[in-house]
Amino acid sequence: MLLMDPSRKISFNRCIRDGDLVIVYERHDIMKAVKVCENSVFQNRFGLFKHSDWIGKPFGSKVFSNKGGFIYLLAPTPELWTLVLSHRTQILYIADISFVIMYLEIVPGCLVLESGTGSGSLTTSLARAVAPTGHVYTFDFHEQRAASAREDFERTGVNTLVTVGVRDIQGEGFLDEFSGSADSVFLDLPQPWLAIPSAGKMLKQDGVLCSFSPCIEQVQRSCETLRSNFTDIRTFEILLRTYEVREWKMDCSKVDDGGSVACPPGKRRRQPSSEGSVRDNPSCAAVMARASAEARGHTGYLTFARLKCMS
């Protein structure tokens, strides 16, 4: 991610270079991550795009294909990455990600432990939060997924902030070397209560833990286990409702039609004089907002807890 490396920061003067990762924006729900390569081309339903046309242009530019179609080239951010990454597992989206980072009280310099890595969606945002001096140690028990995650972190440039390990945290717990050194721990496991005791050992005093579980039974069991060594246990769910905006040009002249609007007699008499002014402005444009028809019903429950202070 460009911002994490001050030498490659985006700015008015920073243009797309060979080797940069760009996000190709076709539509709000059709985006793709592409590595810019001098001799490569990008093809989609709008036509063929030469990477060489992209080099030297600022991020945020509109570029054209051989057929006259266009796309936008955006600088990668963890949010955009979440929308374009390949899903090897179910991922976390921005609503949960942003809440987790705030509630885990992650600041630059923090050491964060995560399990499982999954597709690395949250991990990328964790890296942003701990940059530039912190670190994220993330673990997945699936060797291939861990390898894919490592590749992704290299592509997006967060590999200096993230270390991926292959380990079954549920079965074996975290490594002893992290004992007492983690500021925050994040768990996204099928049976998090098995990992909670180990997580407790890893956390610094007053450190925060978060467990993400889709099912309420998992939450109940996790909370039961948390009660021995943790305090301030809270469970939330968070969702985003999106809105669509439309300009609605209403045909105001219709309102004059005495038949369609029931007016008291007094008003009707006044109509002829106002008719003229309305006709001068035949359409009243108004921007209206309406909730999107499609909505997400549930992602998972987020349970946060703080390690009890025992000393």
Partner: protein, 463 residues
């Protein structure tokens, strides 16, 4: 290769409180949140008892204290809950009893308790602890045995909160401050709820290296969002080689908006230096006046006075003892925190120096956050978006939907931004207890709306 975070930062370990530090006091498990600055003289009032906060100095964050009635006056004593006992006492650990009880025979006529107020006072003066009083109340309740197990727990907890209140010592983080304000003074922060606040941070891609342009009319809450990332004092030691970011809090007109919330944190001077103020006119003007450096000192004083006035109006003195502001007129010396003889809060919000303004104009800001719940969003966006670098994200918070709808529409028409989305966050908390898990009865109905998007490259040479 585990991080060797130096625990040897000056004198301070941010996990332990010190004289003069800002803390968040969590009374009775979230019932009430109070901000305080720890000093020999500071006190806390719970119910009708006033306790000194001195015992809290030098304790680790996360320590629990219980109010005890001493011979002379109530005091806070450090309380370490034994884990075993908790499993029995706490709601979580109980098993369902064999014979299920219910409340069919219980009549609520206020006659059940045989101990009177005078009895309790007598017990107190004899030195009974809070817990002993709670046990006595239970023993003298005619209906206690008839209650269901859950009901008994609820009763015990209620009595404990009243007669042996507990205070949890916490660090002030954006999250807790936002929650406290949202609960108590939501209007002051424009109903900016903690999940909306966290979304602003993510959607605007704020990180340590960001140059963030902020319009903060929510008391400083959004400005500190960025700063919160620097909360850890240990980090400050390496400030020079750490992130190069800064935050520019801009304002319309002559006077900056009050950012009293910043003082609740334990930011030291290095960090505060990165919060800069610049009026919108200055940012947008083509050349920079020569008068900037000269008037810098005056502006700083004016700003301080302005903040003082506003603060005394806005802040309730009981909950937020910010009287320390009165002592601050000059820049505190660099190593103020290490000596910490006084309770002065380092000053933030210096007027931006010319070099900073020029740098921002040259490179553009990398993030834009607008939290001006009473303003017209479009007029602000129109003026500020050009200051944002190409392909940089922005997030605009408003408590009403319409201004954002208009802005989104205009941004689309003028092709200034892409990936536009208006989101409304929805947050619900759950009570999780054995056989009693359900969403909380109360929830917040308003979290505001956020318009987010990415700025597009606009070639000014094109028509």
């Amino acid at each position: 290769m585990s991080e060797s975070k130096p625990e040897s930062a000056p004198v301070l370990n941010p996990r332990v409180t010190w004289e003069g530090c800002s803390v968040l006091l969590d009374i009775n498990d979230g019932d009430r949140l109070v901000f305080a600055r720890l000093s020999a003289g500071s006190t806390l009032k719970i119910g009708n008892k006033t306790c000194s906060l001195q015992p809290l100095i030098g304790c680790p964050f996360g320590s629990l204290f219980q109010v005890e009635s001493g011979k002379e006056k109530p005091y806070l004593s450090r309380f370490v809950p034994p884990t075993e006992e908790n499993n029995v006492q706490d709601e979580g650990g109980c098993q369902l009893q064999e014979v299920p009880r219910d409340n069919r025979a219980i009549i609520d006529n206020n006659q059940a308790q045989s101990l009177t107020g005078e009895d309790i006072d007598a017990m107190r003066s004899q030195g009974a602890t809070g817990n002993e009083i709670v046990e006595a109340l239970i023993a003298n309740s005619a209906t206690f045995e008839k209650k269901t197990q859950f009901s008994q727990e609820k009763y015990r907890l209620k009595k404990q909160k009243k007669y042996a209140p507990r205070v949890l010592l916490r660090r002030p983080f954006s999250r807790s401050i936002c929650e406290a304000y949202f609960k108590k003074y939501p209007v002051r922060i424009g109903f900016l709820r903690v999940d909306a606040l966290s979304l602003l941070l993510s959607m605007a891609n704020v990180t340590a290296n960001s140059d963030v342009l902020v319009v903060d009319m929510v008391g400083g809450l959004v400005t500190v969002l960025w700063l919160n990332v620097w909360e850890c004092d240990i980090v400050v030691k390496y400030c020079g080689i750490l992130g190069t970011g800064s935050v520019c809090s801009t304002y319309l007109g002559e006077t900056p908006y009050p950012i009293e919330i910043i003082r609740m944190f334990n930011f030291n001077n290095e960090i505060c230096k990165r919060i800069l103020r610049c009026s919108l006119d200055d940012l947008c003007s083509v050349q920079n006046e020569t008068g900037i450096q000269v008037s810098q000192h005056e502006d700083v004083c004016t700003m301080e006075i302005h903040s003082n006035e506003k603060t005394s109006l806005l802040v309730s003195t009981e909950e937020v003892p910010l009287s320390s502001i009165n002592g601050v007129t000059d820049l505190v010396p660099e190593n103020e925190l290490t000596s910490s003889k006084t309770c002065k809060a380092p000053k933030a919000g210096e007027k931006a120096p010319k070099e900073a303004i020029q740098s921002w104009k040259k490179n553009g800001f990398s993030s834009l956050i607008i939290a001006a719940p009473e303003q017209d969003a479009w007029s602000l966006v129109k003026d500020l978006l050009p200051l944002l670098t190409y392909s940089a994200p922005f997030a605009i918070y408003h408590q009403y939907l319409q201004p954002l709808a208009t802005s989104m529409h205009n941004l689309q028409l003028e092709k200034m931004a892409i990936g536009l989305q208006i989101s409304e966050p929805w947050l619900r908390e759950y009570q999780v207890l054995p056989s009693r898990t359900h969403p909380c009865m109360q929830m917040s109905g308003i979290g505001g709306y956020i318009l987010s998007g990415t700025r597009l490259y606009t070639d000014t040479s094109q028509p």
